[in-house]
Symmetry: C2
Subunit: 585 residues, 2 copies
């Protein structure tokens, strides 16, 4: 079985030669940051991902999590790896420095996130959700709650969860019924059942901090009557230590397709003590603080599994000797040539490579905008917010849809061995499959993109995104590739602008095609930029590999956009005309 190795050379190329990280940090005023420091962080992160959590991944899938006597245990080694992660400060990378966070730029943290996702997706999830919880508590909780919880969530001494979904309320949170009853001491008694709670319980930390959506008595119906509460597993004593058990517990853990080493819990709240976070009835807005970030993080999960699958497939293709090349024997001393010599195998590998490296570029572009949003106080902050809002559903939806394709290719390259668990390739396909579903299904992402992000304010988010891309394209040196990129951007802009005026039903019918169309075009632009930047690279493999992969992408992948484009401006009548009864006979 192939052992994961962090793709350091590609990170270096993208950050230094494509994104010009030093100029970027200078421009946004990220003091003390430079590309060398990021390199050092990546080197250490790679060690942790490769040596500590990657070796636990395969066994973790086989053993899974267990619920015994109301407590969840994770597979062997998982808790110890978490202690090492926390001990080395990884959990605090992005945290507020007032609470001992390291306050690193996103461009430094996102490569680490990718590595963690590649190495062991199940293991990564709980730490990812803690980072999301930190954002919500830092921004919306009272000063008292921040003082009690934030430092320990940032360090990772405690973990955090998001409790949104209920059996009857998934995509539609307006239907949630968990109750929050005000108590005389200013706290709330939380009662209800939540499902699909990642890291709802585990054996890693002395406390777990649940962020729970619930309804106050007489709250308005629908999403305008939802409030957010902080509900710890253990109530704190006067020294702010986990003490008395709160009235909540794990009902069961789900038996899932993948991410089996991540406990997905049914949580029962039986009058548990909770504290309001943010204002009454504004809970969904608080949750949305975490949403852009969490959705992007789920996109990153797609990227992480793509990289792991590509590595596994490539190493097997180089080793596996079967048949001869159509060009005649290439390894005459062996009984057969490696399957790397089969054009169709190379097509599969290049598809994986073009998507993986393209999505990585997209992730770092997004990280760059997050940096701008974080550091800049001028007009650039608002611009970056617009861009991030527009790119978020594309990252979440496209990166995870593509990951299912890429990880399935990984299986295919192995032939029948890809179907056997010990090789690890099918686990990647099973693990990454969740990413199309949670944090809003990809259908929800598509609806968000076309129904809200594209059309709100007459297209401001789109325009900000197009302007940013247009400016970054203009520095390309190859005129032909520059023109290609400009044409793609222009076409995307034109069609998007038309879609703003489509009615809601037709837009909903075009939503997924628009998301995919946008993803393919965006990756095309990024590939042309990368090919251009690679010409100056000192790394001969980058210099050869980027233009060749760009050519492949433009020729063999980008044409897919046409199939999506062809239905964008048409009516949804073909979707709606058939009666429900005539769907089956």
């Amino acid at each position: 079985m192939h052992q994961y190795q962090a793709p350091m050379a590609d990170f270096q190329f993208l950050l230094k030669e494509w994104l010009n990280l030093d100029s970027h940090y200078l421009a946004i005023g990220a003091q003390g940051m430079d590309a060398e420091l990021v390199s050092e962080v990546m080197t250490q992160g790679a060690k942790f991902a490769e040596q500590v959590i990657a070796p636990l991944n395969r066994e973790g899938d086989e053993i899974g999590c267990k619920l015994e006597n109301g407590a969840v245990s994770t597979p062997p080694g998982f808790a110890a790896a978490y202690q090492e992660y926390v001990g080395n400060g990884w959990n605090a990378m992005l945290g507020n420095p007032d609470f001992d966070g390291q306050d690193l730029p996103y461009t430094a943290a996102v490569p680490i996130h990718e590595m963690l996702n590649s190495a062991n997706l199940s293991w990564r999830l709980t730490t990812m959700l803690t980072e999301s919880a930190v954002l919500a508590v830092d921004k919306h909780a009272s000063e008292a709650l921040r003082q009690q919880y934030l430092a320990k969530l940032i360090s990772g001494e405690w973990t955090g969860t998001m409790n949104l979904t209920e059996p009857q309320a998934g995509s539609d949170l307006s239907l949630l019924t968990t109750k929050a009853e005000p108590q005389d001491d200013g706290t709330y008694a939380i009662t209800g059942n939540k499902i699909f709670i990642t890291g709802g319980d585990h054996d890693w930390t002395s406390n777990i901090v649940h962020l729970v959506l619930a309804r106050l008595p007489k709250a308005p119906e629908g999403v305008k009557g939802i409030s957010l509460f902080l509900v710890p597993k253990f109530l704190l004593n006067e020294q702010n230590e986990a003490a008395e058990k709160n009235k909540l517990g794990v009902g069961s853990i789900e038996k899932k397709m993948g991410i089996k080493a991540s406990p997905t819990c049914v949580m029962n709240f039986d009058g548990a003590k909770g504290w309001l976070v943010g204002e009454e009835n504004k809970g969904l807005a608080c949750m949305f603080t975490m949403m852009n970030d969490a959705r992007f993080q789920v996109g990153m999960q797609g990227l992480g599994t793509c990289e792991a699958s590509f590595q596994g497939a490539l190493s097997y293709a180089k080793d596996r000797l079967q048949s001869r090349s159509p060009k005649g024997p290439q390894q005459p001393d062996a009984k057969a040539d490696s399957i790397m010599h089969q054009p169709d195998v190379r097509r599969m590998l290049l598809t994986q490579k073009a998507f993986t490296e393209g999505l990585r570029a997209l992730s770092l572009l997004y990280a760059q905008q997050m940096d701008i949003e974080k550091y800049c106080k001028d007009y650039r902050k608002a611009q970056a917010q617009q861009i991030l809002a527009f790119l978020t559903p594309i990252c979440k939806g496209f990166m995870t849809d593509i990951a299912t394709e890429v990880t399935n290719i990984g299986i295919q390259v192995y032939g029948g061995h890809g179907y056997v668990r010990e090789w690890g390739m099918e686990q990647l396909a099973r693990d990454t499959r969740i990413a199309q579903l949670y944090e809003g299904t990809n259908g929800i992402q598509a609806a968000d993109l076309i129904g809200r992000k594209l059309s709100r304010d007459g297209g401001l988010m789109l325009n900000a995104t197009v302007e940013m891309l247009s400016a970054s394209i203009n520095s390309m040196s190859n005129k032909k590739q520059l023109e290609q990129a400009q044409m793609l951007l222009h076409e995307w802009h034109q069609i998007s602008a038309k879609l703003i005026h489509v009615d809601a039903l037709d837009a909903a019918g075009a939503a997924t095609d628009y998301l995919h169309y946008s993803g393919y075009v965006l990756l095309g632009i990024l590939w042309l930029q990368m090919a251009d930047a690679a010409k100056k690279s000192a790394n001969p493999k980058i210099k050869a590999g980027k233009p060749a992969t760009c050519e492949f992408y433009i020729k063999r992948i980008l044409p897919r956009k046409e199939a999506h484009r062809s239905v964008l401006l048409s009516s949804a009548s073909d979707l709606m005309s058939l009666s429900d009864e005539a769907f089956d006979y």
Copy 2:
């Protein structure tokens, strides 16, 4: 969890109104056969699939197979279901009547095969391979072997297996090393290790008949030195009963992604007694007798899982209440509308429906040609052989690639619940994933299509297929749809004819795109035909559903063909230019 129901109305429509089964049987001289008899067979088959094996499917996945003390056990109920299957004569549907087979036409058996695959793919596999083994023994074995084994394989008293793959010999069988040493008594001592042997051992029958590829001493190297042997688990006594244990055993069973209730065995042959089937060194040709059939059967597995997934998704979409329709409340008395009212959910369901029913039409068209091949002794037999040879890799590759897409859509319609095993949707995606791999990976199918089937004899197989389709299109009554179908067929024919002259390397680079292009075009033609035929249907749902689904297919699925077509006649240089070393950095 949705319980499978056989799609009887669609079978009836396709067989009676689209394929005109009575005329077909008359034309080929299938005496005693008519559509009513086929209906009766289907009704009984549906009962078995729905009531006997479908209820075992979910638990079978959880429990899986076990190897203890060298013997394999299958999940509870599996063996009893097999006894019922055999007792009711299902195993003998296609068998030679000289050995108590029922000798049914393929058009009668193929709907049953689909149902078995839908209801419980794991359970189905062993019976499918027995049918393949019957074909090889009937056609190639000596009269003595036929007398000893055939009746019991046809009835199902014993099952059969195919032993091809070895650790170092998968796609490339020329590398296989299992030895067959001639013994004084005319038998052979078989020694070697085989992997991926479906049904290599189980607790269903008193004997298992292995068909094993091996090499004779001094056999030529490569595929011209491979012979086929019949190697029973138990040697027969003079009453032709299973008696003494042969020198073979199960080394282990694979831990797989899916089809967990089907035992996939590592088989060790330690000088096991075997009998030559067919001529020495002509083993691969004997195996190819089963290959068209087995590859088509694997395509049928794709279809079966598509149907099961579509049914599950449709029933959930009708029940699940989340959010309101973009048109405003459709179920005002409920707290939300069913997700059937969401255009994007309908897009997913229509994609499943369009593929499932399109592939079903393809499967019955193939069955019709198998009937012609079986019953006709005149020029039609040779024509049907050409058509079957051409369509086989398309059926195997396209039907199974599409099944992975369709079953993944099934998960997506369920949202997070699709990822939870108890709903059964993710099992379908895991189970069907094997079908892209075995009986020749889909890359091998694509290479077979473009490299052998298309170009051999200057395109005879292509021409026979185009002629057959052209003739069947001509009976369409709607002129516009007729012209659309003719245009598609013409385009396919033209591009295919050009591809015959492309050099081997470029053809290998275009292979998968050509297979997919062909699949999309073929389904387009079949959809236009079905929409035309449905206009006269007495079933109002068929009358409404087929044209609406045809419109959907033409508008939202068929455009994919363009992305594949655009690379067909281009060079493979973009695939081959990058050095192996520059695939990673």
